[in-house]
Subunit: 461 residues, 2 copies
């Protein structure tokens, strides 16, 4: 896609007539912090301005202006994205939703909350907790990332295995279209088939079809109890067998995560937690509800029977938290120690052990260290490429390694991205997964809603 | 929308060159059975042919031909739709998917099954039951209706309250586009954010964006146990209070249904079940899993505390089935006794008692008898309009009554259709629920995928 449009200073003066001047940031030092998201390998362009709207009317005025002036717009949440979907393009305006943080409505009895796009995921949870409710989607970045970004990427997390991904917890959206019109999708009801489901279309569209300004989220009752198990395995194969036994057992885990040997060691190096440095694989799982302990005990038994070296099941919250901490630390432990590229591939769940084995082979071949964590219950792995530095050679080898991991996932009937999105980083890999017909249908929908290709062009699909 | 295209006999001869002649039905007597679905009030047009493809290649050839000859196509499942979405249009070809009944793949370990569009919903359940799995979506028509129709309308059912609607159990689709190309969406993985979610866009699009030929469905492990409660209430208000208490209690019903006084009596008239003919409302609910009985007992306690006349909780399967039979009979009981128009409105769950009260008022005003059943746990009601006959006066009063019911649902923050779809019947009401911006966005998507407006034009949105 050729991008031949960009804002100039004359255009920015026109914008300042349409919105409060203080939402228009042109100071280069300030703008620097808005050029990248968390995808280190994606080159960042230079925006002409960063816009920080405080309400939907501001966003609407911005998009009307962008359409009049043919200006490219890159919407942005907290910048935690790992695929470069919020990386600035040359000549664009970045629209940061950070100041749209109102909780517009909280309907306790109907288990719904209406939040603006800039509300941090964890703040939704905190706002509803005292009513005995919670918001299930919990991407690793949940303490930092915003609902708008979560919606744009259809973010996942550890609780998805039971409660579904972001799109399964949304009843309706407010979206500003490319031409500045404000669209309302969905509603307040749990079931609704009145027309095309535009809510579902905008979720996961990575800012390329419109800017989501607000969402009606569906909450769930906080479970009565939670229990946790941990198990370690001498080989990937025994661990894979345990996972298949758990899937076949009929239990409903509320979390089912894995860490490979490299991750276990990265965590131990970062903070001593007495994990088994020799284990090939560690599984950690939870169940919730009144029968939580019985369910995790059943999962632990599956592990024992498959050949686990060790398994522990507990309903004690402190002990559970400690187990969970090891998993939560995995990302930080590697990112603090190495420049890290976080991959995000998915396969049918029973192919996990095969994918892990292939990833180990790829690592040996390319010489790039890989530590893999993942949402085992969903077949979604995050191989983390631990680079010595971000020099040209390291980058090249990282891309080659990621290339081979994506190819391996596709070969196993999988996907190049389970929950991080395509962004800019994965656009080429997307063409390996999807055929021309699929890409053409997506391009038609893009042109139907954004004919001038102003919204995050070249991203997402 | 003006429809000025239709097939002629010369065109049909061209079609017979492209597909086996025996899939083209032009016998008027045979075609008569394909003119209507189950929406009695929608006038049926006259098709020039009924096409019964046996494979995706046939459907592709049909759509290529339809595009070449500018022929309108009305896709059709089992014809159980209640909104006229499969009613024939004058000069159209009806494409009946009844002969595409293959189960292409069943991956027991990954809990997925790939079925063609013509497979009956209940046959999916029967095919996977011995593996300890089930397919959750269970529209009232599940013994007759096909997966293709279920997908086209995003069908609901009684189990949605726990397991979600049809769109929550689909991982991927095979779709024939208006121009005959075959699109594959989604995949085999539980999580997948590679590009726009076209799977979700086609589900609920009522045959207006493409013809779904096959789907990869997600199955669930059959629950260890199921328990059931029934409660009757002296007033709508006490019943509504019980529902709100259940929602607030944190239990997870796997079914939560209601029947009003008129429905109770219609069922008792049809088959004696010793229901309380004086009750204003009957609730019937289930929970599943190892703690099923404890959960239904908690729901029964909510009912008692809210003022139920009677409540019973049981884990006995025979007794459970008996309770369930009363609810399942409701539709048949009314439809066998009266010409019936089945409405399908939804409201936020806590507004159910208000909606029931308003429906009773509307019935008194218009003189149309109404018996209401519904998926209480989802806030989705089916007021059944019991007509004395299908004469002009009765039809007029039915439409006026339905009009007021839809208006009442919208006024309570609800929807004109929770699970049946818009079809042809509800197109005008759709314009009362959705604004011009929403309708414009939907029309743009329609034109992007079906520029000549050949696929089920004027239906769905």
């Amino acid at each position: 896609m050729t991008i031949d449009h960009g804002a100039n200073m004359n255009h920015l003066e026109q914008l300042k007539d349409a919105v409060p001047a203080d939402i228009v940031v042109t100071d280069p030092d300030l703008m620097e912090g808005y050029r990248r998201d968390s995808a280190d390998l994606v080159p960042a362009g230079k925006p002409v301005a960063v816009l920080r709207p405080r309400c939907t009317a501001h966003v609407s005025a911005i998009m009307s202006w962008a359409t009049r002036t043919n200006t490219i717009v890159v919407p942005r949440g907290a910048g935690t994205g790992l695929s470069g979907g919020a990386t600035a393009l040359d000549g664009c305006v970045v629209v940061s939703m950070e100041h749209m943080t109102a909780i517009r409505d909280f309907d306790v009895a109907n288990h719904t909350v209406v939040v603006e796009a800039g509300v941090v995921n964890a703040d939704v949870g905190r706002a509803v907790a005292s009513a005995g409710l919670f918001y299930p989607p919990d991407p690793g970045s949940f303490e930092v990332s915003t609902i708008g970004g979560n919606l744009a990427t259809n973010a996942g997390g550890m609780r998805c295995v039971k409660y579904g991904v972001t799109r399964n917890s949304v009843l309706g959206l407010e979206v500003v279209l490319a031409d500045g019109r404000v669209l309302h999708t969905g509603g307040q009801t749990v079931k609704n088939v009145a027309g095309l489901d535009l809510t579902q279309l905008f979720i996961g569209s990575e800012g390329a079809l419109g800017i989501i300004t607000s969402a009606t989220l569906r909450l769930r009752p906080t479970p009565a109890a939670t229990a946790t198990f941990v198990a370690t395995f001498p080989t990937l194969e025994t661990g894979g067998r345990a996972l298949n036994a758990i899937f076949a057992s009929g239990v409903t885990p509320s979390m089912l995560e894995l860490m490979d040997n490299a991750t276990i060691n990265a965590v131990e190096d970062y903070r001593r937690m007495d994990l088994d440095r020799e284990a090939a694989l560690l599984l950690i799982g939870q169940a919730d509800g009144t029968d939580a302990l019985a369910q995790v005990e059943r999962m632990a038994t599956c592990c024992d029977e498959a050949g686990a070296d060790l398994s522990v099941a507990t309903a004690d919250p402190t002990e559970s938290d400690m187990f969970l901490q090891a998993r939560r630390l995995a990302g930080w432990a590697t990112m603090e120690q190495f420049p890290t590229v976080v991959e995000d591939v998915g396969v049918p769940r029973t192919r996990l052990a095969e994918l892990l084995t292939t990833i180990a082979e790829i690592s040996r071949d390319t010489g790039v260290r890989i530590a893999t964590v993942g949402h085992a219950g969903d077949g979604n792995l995050h191989p983390m490429l631990l680079l010595p530095d971000l020099g040209e050679d390291a980058r090249r080898r990282a891309m080659e390694t990621a290339d081979r991991i994506c190819a391996a996932a596709i070969a196993l009937g999988g996907t190049i991205t389970g929950e991080h999105g395509v962004g800019e980083l994965k656009r080429e890999w997307l063409t390996h997964q999807l055929d021309d017909i699929s890409l053409d249908v997506q391009a038609r929908i893009k042109r139907a809603l954004d004919p001038a290709l102003l919204l995050n062009p070249g991203r997402g699909f």
